[in-house]
C-alpha cells in the first residue's frame, strides 16, 4: 500500500484528497505546513509527497530543498500542487527539481490516477 504525504494548509482540500486517495487504497499522511511536513516526511518516509506551493510558514519550493537533503528522500517523487499561473509553472517546477505538478483546482476524479503515474509500479496502491 503506497503512502502519500500531502503537505497542504487548506483543510477542505486535505479532507477531499484524503477521501479520494484512501478509497483507492493509499495510506494518506498530512501536514498543514512546511516544518511539520518535513518532520512527517523524515519520520514516515512516504512513497510520494504532494506539496502545495503556498504554505503558511515556508513555500513549497523551499520545502522541496529541505526534503531533498534527507538522504532517504532523495529519490522520492515530489509533486507540486499549485494554482499559480499556468504559464510559469512548468519552468518553475523544472528549475526546482519537482518530479511533476498538479494544477488547482484539483479534479478529484482524476487525482488518484495522476498520483499513480509518479509512483514506481511496486509502490502503487
Amino acid at each position: 500500500m503506497a503512502r502519500v504525504l500531502l503537505v497542504e494548509d487548506n483543510p477542505h482540500h486535505v479532507e477531499l484528497a484524503r477521501r479520494v486517495l484512501a478509497a483507492r487504497g493509499y495510506e494518506v499522511l498530512t501536514a498543514p505546513d512546511g516544518e511539520s511536513g518535513l518532520q512527517v516526511a523524515r519520520e514516515q518516509l512516504p512513497d510520494i509527497i504532494l506539496l502545495d506551493l503556498g504554505l503558511p510558514d515556508v513555500d513549497g519550493q523551499t520545502l522541496l530543498g529541505w526534503l531533498r537533503r534527507v538522504p532517504e528522500l532523495k529519490d522520492t517523487p515530489i509533486i507540486a500542487v499549485t494554482a499559480w499561473p499556468a504559464g510559469a509553472v512548468p519552468d518553475m517546477v523544472a528549475a526546482y527539481g519537482f518530479d511533476g505538478y498538479i494544477t488547482k483546482p484539483i479534479h478529484f476524479s482524476a487525482f488518484a490516477d495522476q498520483i499513480a503515474t509518479y509512483l514506481p509500479h511496486s509502490a502503487s496502491a
Binding site: 494548509d9 477542505h12 499561473p85
Partner: protein, 300 residues
C-alpha cells in the same frame, strides 16, 4: 447589497487576522497564506498601521480585511481580501474606501498598491476608484545551487550599515516592498560590490532570511548592467550555494533582468503596481462600530 461593519484590525489578534486572511485567499491563483509569525514580520517590515487597517464583519463573522502601510509620504493598500462566498456584494469596495479615507485623514497624498496580474476583479475595483498602472513587476525564484557562470573582478562584502547606505542611493520611486524603509526593518541585511576589469561596477543588497535569500536589489554604478549583474550573482552564490532565493517586484524594465535569468532565476508570477489618491470627504468611515454601505457613505 448587504452592509458590513468595519472594525479596526487592531481589535483582532494576529491569529484571528491570519485565519481570516487565509480564508479570503483560499481560491486565489497565488494564495500566499501566512501564519502569525509571518504576519507579524509583514506588519513590522512594511509599516502596516493596524489602527488604520480594517476588518469587515457581519456580526461575529469576518467577511474580509485590508491593511494599510503608512510612511511619511505615502500609504500602501495591502492584503485586501473577501471571503469567496461574500464577494460581489460591495465588501471589497467598502474596505478599500475605508483605507482611502484613512489615508486622507493622515494627510497622505499618494496611495499605492500591487495587484497580481490577471486578478481582474481587484484591478477593476482599483481602476473604479482612480488607481492607474505604473509598472509591471516580476516575482523571481532561484533554486539552491552554485553559480552558473564564472566572473572576473574584485568583490567586497558590505556590512549592514554599508548595504543600507548604498540602497538609499537608488532612484525613486521604489516599490513599497523594495523601499529602503522595508530593508531597514529587515534582519540580516548584507551586500557586496564588484569592480570588473572592463571598468563596470555595481552593488547588490539582500536579506539572508531564515529560509531564503530575499529582498535582492542591485545597481550598476558604471558600465554594463548584465556584466555587473552576472558578477554579483557569481559572488553571491559562491557564498550561498545551498539556499533558495525569492525576489519580489523586479520591474520588467530592470536592466539587470538578463543577469537574473542567466543566474538561474525563473519567473513565478507577476504583479502590477498602481498609484491612486486618498478619498476626500467621502462621508465613509472609519467609524469603529459604524456601518458602511458599499457606496462609502456612512450609515448609523
Amino acid at each position: 447589497m448587504n452592509p458590513c461593519q468595519l472594525v479596526p484590525a487592531s481589535h483582532f489578534t494576529l491569529e484571528q487576522l491570519v485565519e481570516a486572511y487565509n480564508h479570503t485567499r483560499v481560491d486565489y491563483m497565488v494564495p500566499m497564506p501566512m501564519n502569525a509569525a509571518r504576519l507579524a514580520e509583514y506588519i513590522h517590515v512594511y509599516d502596516v498601521d493596524m489602527e488604520q487597517s480594517v476588518v469587515a464583519v457581519d456580526g461575529e463573522r469576518v467577511l474580509g480585511l485590508a491593511m494599510l502601510g503608512v510612511r511619511p509620504d505615502r500609504a500602501w493598500v495591502t492584503r485586501l481580501g473577501v471571503l469567496p462566498n461574500r464577494r460581489r456584494r460591495g465588501v471589497g469596495e467598502a474596505l478599500l474606501l475605508y483605507l482611502l479615507a484613512a489615508s486622507d485623514r493622515l494627510g497622505i497624498s499618494l496611495v499605492t498598491l500591487d495587484v497580481i496580474k490577471g486578478n481582474l476583479p481587484a484591478h477593476t475595483l482599483f481602476v473604479k476608484w482612480g488607481f492607474h498602472e505604473t509598472r509591471e513587476m516580476i516575482i523571481l525564484r532561484r533554486p539552491p545551487g552554485p553559480p552558473q557562470h564564472t566572473a572576473a573582478g574584485r568583490c567586497r562584502w558590505l556590512s549592514r550599515a554599508e548595504a543600507l547606505a548604498v540602497a538609499q542611493t537608488r532612484p525613486r520611486p521604489l516599490t513599497w516592498i523594495n523601499d529602503t524603509a522595508s530593508l531597514a526593518h529587515a534582519d540580516c541585511v548584507l551586500g557586496l560590490t564588484v569592480n570588473l576589469p572592463c571598468g563596470s561596477r555595481g552593488w547588490l543588497v539582500f536579506q539572508k532570511h531564515r529560509y531564503y535569500l530575499t529582498r535582492l536589489t542591485m545597481a550598476t554604478v558604471e558600465g554594463d548592467p548584465t556584466a555587473v549583474g552576472r558578477a554579483l550573482f557569481y559572488y553571491l552564490y559562491q557564498a550561498y550555494p545551498d539556499i533558495d532565493t525569492n525576489v519580489e517586484n523586479v520591474a520588467v524594465t530592470n536592466p539587470h533582468l538578463a543577469a537574473f535569468l542567466d543566474a538561474g532565476f525563473v519567473e513565478a508570477f507577476r504583479r502590477v503596481e498602481m498609484y491612486g489618491q486618498p478619498l476626500h470627504g467621502c462621508g465613509g468611515g472609519p467609524w469603529p462600530g459604524g456601518t458602511v454601505s458599499p457606496s462609502g457613505k456612512a450609515r448609523r
